[in-house]
């Protein structure tokens, strides 16, 4: 466990050492500041569009930074040969996979915490109508989605280059987030073999859309039931475990010498 924590700690430090996070953070701040100063038809007491922009940017940057961080872990260490040093010490391959995954996930979740915290403070200066229970759920559930994405990137990192891995993972993330909700309806409209195939895909894919509570938070709806939130955490953990197991199996057979 100490090995896992040590590897994870290095990964977390990596995201804050690079400029990417600061560029994204400053960019989001500038966009929000600019958007807050705009006057629309001389109506001044609006805040939902600001939450929408802020959450959209925060979630996009968090997903992007996390996916690229997780995707480059193994290939970069193979290239720099640091992987050999790590694994020649008392670090098992299972610990290595777990450490890289936990580090990438913790880095992504802490990045998003900063984006989310700043946005929440920003929103509270405009309105007091934010439900803290819904905000907490929105943050935790998005982090669960981020965990799934990190596990996917970690697994693909053992067979793909960082660029290909990040592209494939983020495309899947985006497509499933956007179209997952209507996939079953689209499947039911098909005829022949495509119909059962699409229905099976709908059942098998990790539905990233389950973890996006943005609209509930923005439009002041009640939080979802805590039981459902807990079940969604179990869902994300189960899929992440499957992806990590696949990654570990791929890595176990890999000749790194």
């Amino acid at each position: 466990m100490r090995n896992v924590a040590a590897i994870a700690g290095v990964v977390v430090k990596e995201i804050f050492r690079k400029k990417d996070f600061y560029v994204a953070f400053v960019f989001t701040g500038i966009v929000l500041f600019y958007a807050a100063r705009l006057r629309f038809y001389d109506v001044g007491n609006t805040y939902r569009y600001l939450m929408d922009i802020g959450l959209g940017l925060g979630m996009s940057f968090a997903a992007l930074l996390t996916a690229t961080l997780a995707a480059r872990q193994f290939p970069a260490e193979m290239q720099g040969r640091t992987c050999h040093v790590l694994l020649s010490k008392a670090v098992s391959r299972r610990e290595y996979v777990a450490g890289k995954f936990l580090g990438s996930f913790a880095a992504g979740a802490s990045c998003y915490l900063l984006f989310f915290g700043v946005l929440l403070l920003f929103t509270l200066t405009k309105t007091h109508q934010v439900s803290f229970a819904a905000a907490a759920q929105a943050y935790v559930l998005f982090c669960m989605g981020l965990m799934l994405l990190t596990a996917l990137c970690t697994a693909l990192g053992f067979v793909m280059t960082p660029a290909a891995n990040a592209t494939v993972s983020l495309t899947l993330y985006l497509m499933i987030s956007l179209y997952g909700v209507t996939l079953r309806q689209a499947a039911e409209k098909q005829e022949g073999v495509l119909r059962p195939v699409l229905l099976a895909v709908n059942l098998l894919i990790p539905h990233f859309g389950f973890f996006d509570m943005r609209q509930r938070l923005i439009h002041g709806w009640d939080p979802i039931s805590w039981k459902l939130a807990a079940l969604l955490c179990v869902y994300a953990s189960a899929y992440s475990a499957v992806f990590l197991a696949i990654g570990w199996l791929l890595f176990r057979k890999k000749n790194i010498s």
Partner: protein, 270 residues
Amino acid sequence: MKDLSVKAGVLAAIFALGALSFVIQRAPDLPERSSAGDPLFKMLGSAKAALGDLVFMRADSYFHKGLRPDLLKAALEDDQAATRGVRQDTMSRLISRDWIGRVYAAVNVSSEHHLDLDESDEMLPLLDISTRLNPHNRAAVLTASYWFHDRYRDTGRALEILKSGRGDNPDSWEIDNELGRIYFEKKKDAAQAAFYFRSALRKLSKAQEKFPFDPIRVRYQLAEAYRAAGRPERALIFYKEALSFYRHREEAALKRVLEKKIAELQTGKA
């Protein structure tokens, strides 16, 4: 020598294309707000308009308190009987077919509600951004004007939006019709209303096939404006024209009104 002439030809073609691009940019048909002088258009090209349409869809989602427009569209496609009650049932049926649908329904906004009046300001930033990004989105212009005119009773702002939209969409009969309606109903300026209804009618003639009831409605409104402006002879012409457009079963009540008004004018009761 041959090589040189080919190179000269290619160069001349490039210069000609360059010159053509300046001509195209200055062409009067290109609307000002979306082309020359607009740095966002220069940067994004036609993606700017697409972005504007996306923002308008988002405004629609705001109007439905966060309901995803694709869900609403899917529900509408699933059940053509689009009365409000039926649509709501269809929507919950659509997303609750299995456990995946039920989770989506619980996490997302999945029932149809509209913004309350005290929160309706929230839609305005998106409508404004949408019309700035795509000034040719007539639905966005008309929705923004509707919001000010019918919801906030701010007729001046509604007219401002429509007049600006008219400049960007010179072919739109809907904008002229709305201008006429506001001048007639709110400003009580029958002459100005008649001007806009007449303009709407001229533009509508091109699109009559698409809108079966609109030719009747615009003619009726124009006749009403002429009548209010003290020109019963012109009003009679357009009442009669409106009546001549009736074919089958459209708005029987208005047909009776038209017949009554024609009879009144013909007997000199106006």
